[in-house]
Amino acid sequence: MSLLWWLIENRQTMGPFVESILLVEDDHNDEQLLRRAFNKAGIAMPVKTVRNGDEAVAYLEGESPYNNRAEHPYPGIVILDLKLPRRSGFEVLEWIRTRTNDTKLLPVVVLSSSSVAKDVNRAYSLGANSYLSKPYRSAEFMELAQKFRDYWLQINEDPFISPNVSA
């Protein structure tokens, strides 16, 4: 039995299977705060950052320059800002949920500086799994990182996504 097959067969006993996190965030400062908090929280999986909505779509599609999956692994979860250059976070969310392959199942956690009901509602309507308000202080980023880790990387069962297979 190949290692890959063994992993697939045994994934239930191995728990959640998030291999990388795709962070869609145009603000370098927010990215650094989040990365630092994730490191302190002991999150070991790679966090890949893209800067706008178009790049997020290209990353998920595995289009150049993201076509090497060893370097740009398909994410187990996406953290998505809403106010982005080019395609907005809402548009990325809508794009993800209207795919005909497994990408439509991808867990997406919105992380936005807006906590206006209009934005929160719209994100849920478009299929966000969760909506988090962007904190301002690093202590709050730390709390967010720990709760994110405990929930999405530990107890939540993720869909097993093979992005090239039609659902």
Partner: protein, 154 residues
């Protein structure tokens, strides 16, 4: 972060196993959760509650929940059918739906996310494990996560 000054919103729990429901509700109390928990046994009953029909017509008495926790195997209407129905409703589809079930097959996990579930959790039977899951639900969904605004129109 979410600052909740209002009265805590209702959690809808749809679970047909009385023993499982009892353990869960007890764990929520132990975790210090103040949100009222509305427990229903059947899928079709949950639909009536969410739609605000029959005995649930008075929204002041039966407010819409801020969080739905449901099993997949339910009498009347399955959990998957219920999630699909919720996702066809303009307002209700915003409410986070957590599946809490004993089904650990990948095909159920996939079907649940495809139907519109926000998260999928496996049911545990040991009391300390139930406490752990409930604490994490509390820390994440009832404190960190921003709840949608769902208007009680009736």
């Amino acid at each position: 972060m979410a600052s909740e000054q209002r009265a805590p919103g209702t959690i809808l729990l749809v679970e047909d196993e009385p023993a499982d429901a009892r353990l869960l509700i007890r764990a929520f109390t132990r975790a210090g959760v103040l949100n009222p928990i509305k427990h229903l046994f059947r899928g079709d009953e949950a639909l009536a509650f969410l739609e605000g029909i029959n005995q649930y017509a008075d929204r002041r008495e039966h407010p819409l929940p801020i969080l739905i926790i449901l099993d997949l195997k339910l009498p009347g209407m399955s959990g998957l059918e219920l999630i699909r129905w919720i996702h066809l409703q303009r307002e209700l589809r915003r409410i986070p739906v957590l599946v809490l079930t004993g089904q650990k097959d990948d095909k159920f996990i996939e079907a649940a996310y495809d139907a519109g579930a926000n998260s999928y959790l496996l049911k545990s039977f040991a009391e300390d494990e139930i406490d752990r899951v409930v604490n994490l639900i509390n820390n994440y969904w009832l404190s960190l996560n921003e709840s949608p605004l769902v208007v009680n129109r009736k």
